[in-house]
Symmetry: C2
Subunit: 312 residues, 2 copies
């Protein structure tokens, strides 16, 4: 194995690039903008130019680099083929092959961004090989890691935890077109939606009525301060998530659930309420699965991407 | 690799033993009774004696046998340790180690029976590497195979599909102690339970009222004959299973769902109703997952068990 590798986290606004040793230590990191014009045609050449520029500056040769791990905000099929990234303007695109060609045949591995983040966080959690990560952000993303490897799935939908059907009676529609997905209850947007409904349907006093617009942070802060309406919303979020993760445990039975994304910044209050309902719904053997907060923040994707290259 | 291997399916009543080539071809099979007296102490020595007797009869040496794959009706942890088999009278038992010691240090691999059946059926389905099998019998069992390997899980609960929480409002209790598990709706017992409720709660005419006791086979036969009450029960079973498998697909996104067990003997009528609801609830990328009926019947465990040894 060579001495170094790149981890690239390709987002809708910027590309985060990390230069790592093959022991997984970050040596350097920087960002470049994601140019989405012309159906995202410039994105991979921009990344290649940045990597080559860095190598030149540091006097690094191709033989010193083991490869490039890159994650993208879309489904990834076997062989590093991206199956549509609406965010980037991409259709079906052989990202692995194209980036490798731009980088003198260097080894390239491609993953979905939520999956890469899960892999990065798992290694940060230390010593574990099986984890499910749930990212509670604008939507709900997820990643399943078994035996240290990402579960991609036959159609690139492995770890799409946010679209587990949790409420068959739901009348509102999820971003994916279905009704009753986990994302409609447990994302930042979903939490605001639940709070709005709660305030409309009841007349209970709440600090949430005092200022508009509602935001997920305000709701979680109000819950921490003991606001009853906010606490009831938090219970609903916890029940739905706890039940969904109990389903997940009946499938892959992970060692640990890693909770990340903006919503997880609320801290232990969110872990505690998820675990309360998880314990109630989980199959007895899996009742003691560990829960932990994500630790790498925005760097998780980069750390996970490079893992695909340096993993022994 | 040696030329031959044994596949052993250890059930509560009998042990099915298969003698295979390392290409996976069955050469011979036989059964011995499962002696459960003395906390199941005789079981492994009985199996070893049967295997050694066969080897002696055929003039086979230890070096000609690659190993023994064995499945058991309970949770299996890493290292071939069985974590309680109530059926057999076993507590925590290092089955891999013990059987290997009885067989002159031969390689032994251990799996849960539903997981082994999934592995056997997957190989029978041909060319695929990722599958989820659901066994609709007295209970609902399951097995998850990714990249040709069984997903055991951190607590041996990988593939415990039957205990996915599907109905938070359920008032009756599942065999596992929880309320609202898939097994309460989709097992043979669950289907009889649903039919009984349906007949109690409505006054609709039904051939099911003509004869008691109800059985799952009679209910499914009545559905095939167009009985309205039986058809409504079948829809409920299909809705619950289809929705649960849509959850499973959001986690591991398999190439194929294999439906086995006694209930699956009803044939395409059961696959069709599951798929109808699966398509409605599944994340768009996974909407076209294949469904197939299990093909190996009672031999699936034996075929799967040996796979753990002969898989390259």
């Amino acid at each position: 194995m060579s001495q170094y590798a790149f981890g690239v986290d390709l987002g809708g606004t910027s590309v985060k690039i990390g230069f790592f040793t093959c022991d997984g230590d970050l040596q350097d990191k920087w960002e470049i903008p994601t140019r989405k014009e012309n159906s995202g045609e410039e994105i991979l050449p921009d990344i290649a130019a940045s990597l080559k520029g860095y190598m030149q500056k540091k006097g690094l040769t191709v033989s010193e680099i083991e490869g490039i791990g890159i994650d993208v905000p879309g489904a990834v099929l076997e062989g590093g083929i991206v199956n549509r990234c609406a965010n980037l303007g991409w259709g079906v695109k052989p990202v692995g092959e194209e980036l490798s060609a731009l980088m003198d045949g260097m080894k390239v591995r491609v993953a979905n961004d939520a999956n890469a983040a899960a892999l990065g966080e798992l290694h940060c959690a230390g010593g574990r090989k099986n984890a499910v990560m749930v990212t509670l952000g604008t939507g709900v993303g997820g990643g399943v890691i078994l035996d240290g490897r990402i579960v991609t799935g036959a159609f690139g939908a492995g770890g799409e935890i946010g679209h587990i059907p949790v409420q068959p009676g739901e009348t509102e529609t999820c971003g994916c077109g279905k009704k009753g997905c986990l994302e409609q209850y447990a994302s930042a947007t979903g939490i605001v939606r639940l709070a709005r409904k709660k305030l409309e349907e009841s007349s209970m006093d709440s600090v949430l009525r005092e200022e508009l617009p509602l935001s997920c942070k305000r709701i979680l802060d109000a819950a921490k301060a003991g606001d009853r309406a906010a606490l009831e919303v938090l219970e609903e979020v916890g029940e739905t998530l706890g039940r969904a993760l109990a389903s997940v445990a009946c499938v892959v039975d992970p060692e640990v659930f890693i909770i990340g994304g903006g919503v997880s910044k609320a801290g232990t209050i969110i872990i505690d309420v998820i675990r309360k309902y998880y314990t109630q719904y989980a199959f007895h053997a899996s009742r003691d699965t560990a829960f932990t907060l994500a630790a790498l923040g925005n760097d998780a994707g980069m750390y996970g991407a490079v893992r695909m290259i340096i993993e022994k």
